[in-house]
Amino acid sequence: MEKVIRTEKLTFTYSAEEARSFALRKVSLDIEKGTFVAVLGHNGSGKSTFAKHLNGILLPSEGKVYSFGFDTSDPENLINIRRNVGMVFQNPDNQLVATVVEEDVAFAPENMGVPSDEIRSRVDDVLKTVGMEKFKKHAPHMLSGGQKQRIAIAGILAMEPNVLVMDEPTAMLDPVGRKEVMATIHRLNKEKGITVILITHHMDEAAQADRIVVINAGQVTHDGTPREVFAHRKELLDIGLAVPQTVEILDELGLKDVALSVDECCDILEKYLKG
């Protein structure tokens, strides 16, 4: 598999004077093309700092980050990296720039010098992808949080990136908005083959990923499939994280299985109830 992101002993400290306060410490990770990776960690764990290294918003204090083989520390590479690695942040209100939805989505391709008929087709296309084509003439600030966040995602998609890095894109949304956005992200991953790196502290969102990376105190503590990672309930609790309730109830009942969905949990509970 092609590695789209590679970090080698990535170390980062926010202030040079306090050289010992590492935000990230020797993080070495490979992320393969087309995977859906969830990065878990509590506030202050370094997970957002990690995300900002993937397209060169932050540069390593030590170590290297390669996005599509391009070294992020070389300024000449930044244009190529940012076209390939799009970022979506927590608050959609901070990411929308125009007063009309379709103009907002067109902002990045316009800046990239994409020809105007190509921009038109890209904008229509990505709005359909995120299920917002009916709102193209609307004002972004009149939309709900989930709708706004989908517009922000469309704006990134219009650049046709290969990797989407999302830093808690659902943190400010209600359950309906969260479901809309998560369904959109999964569809992009499955249908368009876009690699997704989702920074989150929602365990149910992480449970749906192909791979979970747990970061604590700037270091990777767990890395594996959701099933592998959630088997370490106690360790996760110790670093301020929880496991999905489907995992918790089985553990409480002394069962060894890890269930990632309600259905799976019920299958296991049925066996338990029958003795």
């Binding site: 506030n43 202050g44 359950p175 918790e248 109830i249 259905d263 049925e270 109830l273 003795g275």
Partner: protein, 286 residues
């Protein structure tokens, strides 16, 4: 327990007479008793934030009346002012409202405006700081040097220092990780246990509402959809899901087991409750 806050036929319309006219709350009748811990829950746009802004006269109802301790709070500037002190409102992301040079001065802002003596202001600041777990050293720091979680606690302390009879918190856990969320929730719970202040917590997390409150009010499309104890509310999971709210995952598990023909109580919303129930059922079946 006496009645402390009462809403009678309260409606509020934004932008009346313009093309953007929107009725955000419609004909609300609610009574809160002294010492209650109530969670108000609803999806985005359901009207819950508009509703709580009526509790201390920040918004005057388009029609209807709001009473605190039996008195209409929108009669005059004086009654509105009194309502602001009787009912403290902590907004979403309150840390953005910090502005003073030190944490102490920031917490002191509210009580100072109440016209209290310097000694009384100091007493209240120290008590509020203690309630939210801010130590003496931190009081001398600039609020902008604190971590996000600490800033939020300072902002809450600023309201607590006014010693309101009713404390309303709008999404105090938004954007915090599970640990930060637990810290804030524990802090609110301890404060309630100790002071018996009436607490109204606005949230869209069913888990948090269930854990904290003895009563849940569910808002949907500008009206009150459900009002009852957590058990009563979760028994209506069909209505909740339809109105865009989630039931706790563990409740979904029990509902699915019931669908599969097992005799389980689907109004349970905690892991402990589910565990106890499943162990008992196993004992019966085996």
């Amino acid at each position: 327990m006496g009645e402390i806050l009462k809403l009678e036929n309260v409606s509020y319309t934004y932008g009346a007479g313009t093309p953007f006219e929107k009725t955000a709350v419609k004909d609300i009748n609610l009574t809160f008793n002294s010492g209650d811990f109530v969670a108000i829950i609803g999806h985005t746009g359901s009207g819950k934030s508009t509703l709580v802004q009526h509790f201390n006269a920040l918004l005057p109802p388009t029609s209807g009346t709001v009473y605190i301790n039996g008195e209409d709070i929108n009669q005059s500037a004086a009654t509105r002012r009194a309502a602001r002190f009787a009912c403290g409102l902590v907004f979403q992301y309150p840390e953005y409202q910090l502005f003073e040079e030190t944490v102490f001065l920031d917490i002191a802002y509210g009580p100072k405006n109440m016209g209290l003596s310097e000694i009384e202001v100091k007493r209240r600041v120290l008590a509020a700081a203690e309630a939210v777990g801010i130590d003496a050293l931190t009081l001398e720091k600039s609020p902008f040097d604190l971590s996000g979680g600490q800033k939020r606690r300072v902002a809450i302390a600023g309201i607590i220092a006014m010693e309101p009879e009713i404390l309303v918190l709008d999404e105090p856990m938004a954007g915090l990780d599970p640990k930060g969320r637990d810290e804030i929730l524990d802090m609110i719970k301890n404060y309630h246990d100790k002071h018996k202040t009436t607490i109204i917590l606005v949230t869209h997390s069913m888990e948090d509402a269930a854990r904290m409150a003895n009563r849940i009010v569910v808002m949907c499309d500008s009206s009150v959809l459900l009002d009852g104890t957590p058990g009563e509310i979760f028994a209506r999971h069909d209505l909740l899901t339809k109105s865009g709210l989630d039931v706790p995952q563990i409740t979904s598990v029990l509902i699915e087991l019931k669908n599969r023909g097992y005799d389980v109580d689907t109004s349970v919303y905690t892991i402990e409750g589910a565990k106890e129930q499943l162990m008992k059922l196993r004992g019966k079946l085996c």
